[in-house]
């Protein structure tokens, strides 16, 4: 050792780490490490050496570790901080005083095959630019939706000309999933909605002594509007989300890419059976929901408002016309198509991570309900104009 000039000692307790610094020659500094440098205790950050290392005339750095008892990543992290700082300030480092294992691992960390090609990421943008980016993304969504709509339409065309390829069993599986398996929830919800309608109507109609018209209200309300709407919303939450999650996971696993490379249309194979299944089953469920709702209306009228059983029945028959059923079925079919379209759209455009699958499922439900509401308004206006 040449000319020991000053010596500083940092030290924790007896079992702990020790760090000493010694000037060595004119431009050299020796760092002496001793004791235990393990993560089970509080270790110093390399920054305790910042003032010494930052001195302008420092050119060489040495280490001594003959009193080092034990070490792990804690020491490595400390030394790697020191080395990085030295590299930035042109300080020559001589690691020969460190244990061989430490030298090797430090060496591996600095000669990895892919150092620093990631040139850092852009920093967090401000609020306005984030709002702007989100708006642009949102607007870009529309052409995407239209594009997908076009693909689905072409696929429908191929189906009509008998050129679409999908497995019939997939279609029937979806039919089972959407139909029979959704019966319980549809029953419960439409029963309760029918009950609410009956109470709501009875309360108002009692004022003019026209309670018998509860039957008209419930029957036309359920068959024309509410049956289809409630079924559509249930299916959006239940099946639309499931479609998005299934297709999204297939996207993550590159299954959809595999279809593409084989020249099989993923739209034909995956989207078409789902849309067809929903277009078939949602009208049927709508019909079922309407009957359940009318039953609830009947029970409420009979037990609570003293309307005779047959009275209610004939009033219902008198109120209902075939056109109401047609309107209900048409709405059911359109809502089913909307839910399937939204679910498949979000699933097919899903990103490649678990988080993206979650986003796709959420977005499928939101888009599905939004589309249902838009279509409901449009169709109500159109049917009114047509006088149906």
């Amino acid at each position: 050792m040449i000319g020991k000039q000053t010596s500083d000692v940092y030290e924790s307790d007896l079992q702990g780490w020790q760090l000493e610094k010694q000037l060595r020659g004119d431009q050299g500094l020796e760092i002496i490490l001793a004791g235990r440098w393990c993560l089970d205790q509080a270790l110093p950050s390399w920054e305790v050496l910042k003032t010494e290392l930052g001195k302008n005339d420092l050119r060489r750095l040495f280490f001594r570790a003959d009193q080092l008892v034990a070490w792990d990543t804690g020491l490595l992290a400390f030394l790697s901080g020191v080395l990085k700082f030295s590299a930035r300030h042109d300080i020559e480092v001589d690691c020969s005083g460190l244990p061989a294992g430490v030298q090797h691992l430090l060496n591996m960390a600095s000669v990895g095959p892919e150092q620093n090609i990631g040139a850092g990421r852009q920093s967090k943008a401000g609020m306005f630019s984030r709002v702007g980016v989100a708006t642009i993304d949102f607007c870009r969504g529309f052409p995407e939706m239209l594009h997908f709509l076009g693909e689905v339409t072409l696929s429908m065309g191929r189906l009509l000309t008998g050129r679409a390829q999908f497995r019939r069993s997939d279609f029937w599986l979806e039919v089972e999933e959407v139909g029979p398996r959704a019966l319980v929830i549809v029953t419960v919800i439409s029963f309760l909605v029918g009950l609410i309608l009956a109470y709501l109507g009875a309360d108002q109609l009692r004022l003019v002594g026209a309670q018998i018209f509860i039957a008209d209200l419930v029957a036309i309300g359920m068959v024309r509007e509410v049956g289809a709407l409630m079924t559509g919303i249930i299916i959006a939450g239940r099946t639309g989300a499931a479609f998005a999650a299934q297709l999204g996971t297939m996207q993550v696993n590159e299954e959809i890419d595999a279809f593409r490379t084989l020249g099989i249309s993923a739209i034909d194979f995956l989207v078409l059976p789902r849309i067809l299944a929903l277009m078939l089953m949602v009208p049927l469920l709508t019909l079922y929901a309407s009957f359940v709702g009318m039953t609830a209306g009947l029970l409420v009228s009979y037990f609570i408002f003293d309307i005779g059983f047959f009275e209610y029945y004939t009033e219902t028959l008198r109120a209902l016309e075939i056109k109401h059923f047609m309107v209900g079925l048409a709405k059911g079919g359109v809502y089913g198509a909307m839910v399937a379209y939204a679910g498949c759209l979000r699933g097919m455009h899903c990103g490649r991570s678990a988080e993206a699958v979650g986003e796709a499922a959420t977005s499928a439900v939101v888009t599905g309900i939004l589309l249902i509401t838009i279509m409901a308004s449009l169709m109500t206006i159109i049917f009114y104009r047509l006088g149906i």
């Binding site: 993560l39 990543t73 990631g118 040139a119």
Partner: protein, 249 residues
């Protein structure tokens, strides 16, 4: 350090329902070993690994860590034992909603009370060790498969585990990266004294880093050889020599 049993496996049988994947496995992994679990596709390598790291209860037999039988101690002790091993899964199994740095830092935040600066330093050091310096703020979805795998190794090493279990470390990596990973495994063993269990069928890795091994046979559903892989390649069971010479012997 070598010469002390670290993991002892006794009469281990693994099954899915009635289907027995492997039965009557007996082997000892010494401290500081690089222990290779090898065998053809579908022989149960990964199932054995899952039994070793506490993910899947074996149908029979014991797995002991320094004398503590993992499947017969309390849930608390199991948690304590689990903290001593790091596992690298085949595809990396990174948490996709976290950046690489957050992935590696999570175990450190959960199990240590180190200051943030030190955690950051450890994280970037571990990422540099696997050749991913500068990728701290990337999300797993933005990386290639090989990079995800290496980041998975960095996360497995985060807590300086006594036992590092790696599943197929070099499959899907280019030869240089595979070699770098093999070197890293050797350095971890030499530097930190980590016991390393490697599940693999990459011949180059098996022969260059393995200090001990077992060969699982898919036909008889049990192990048919154990010992240093290089010796096994010369003088071992005919099936093992066949495997280790790519079918030429």
């Amino acid at each position: 350090m070598p010469g002390t049993p670290h993991i002892e496996v006794c009469n281990l049988t693994m099954a899915y329902g009635d289907f027995i994947v492997q039965h009557d496995l007996n082997f000892v992994v010494q401290k500081g070993d690089i222990f290779i679990i090898m065998g053809g596709n579908g022989c149960g390598k990964t199932t054995l690994m899952r039994a070793l790291v506490g993910l899947q209860k074996p149908a029979a037999g014991t797995v002991s860590y320094e004398g503590e039988d993992f499947w017969n101690v309390s849930a608390n002790d199991q948690e304590r034992l689990k903290r001593r091993f790091g596992v690298m899964f085949q595809g990396g199994a990174l948490w996709s909603s976290l950046t690489l740095a957050e992935n590696v830092a999570l175990p450190l935040h959960e199990y240590t009370s180190l200051p943030q600066e030190l955690v950051d330093e450890i994280v970037s050091f571990k990422l540099a060790l696997v050749g991913l310096a500068g990728f701290e703020d990337f999300y797993p979805a933005e990386l290639s498969g090989g990079m995800r795998k290496r980041a998975g190794l960095a996360r497995a090493m985060a807590l300086d585990p006594d036992i590092l279990v790696v599943d197929e470390p070099s499959s899907g990596l280019d030869p240089l990266n595979a070699r770098h990973l093999d070197d890293l495994i050797l350095e971890l063993r030499d530097g930190l004294g980590t016991t390393i269990v490697v599940v693999t069928h990459e011949l180059a890795s098996i022969l260059s880093i393995g200090s001990n091994s077992i060969y699982l046979d898919a036909e008889t559903h049990t192990m048919i050889a154990t010992g240093n892989p290089q010796q096994a390649a010369q003088t071992g069971d005919a099936k093992v020599r066949h495997f280790l010479s790519r079918g030429e012997l």
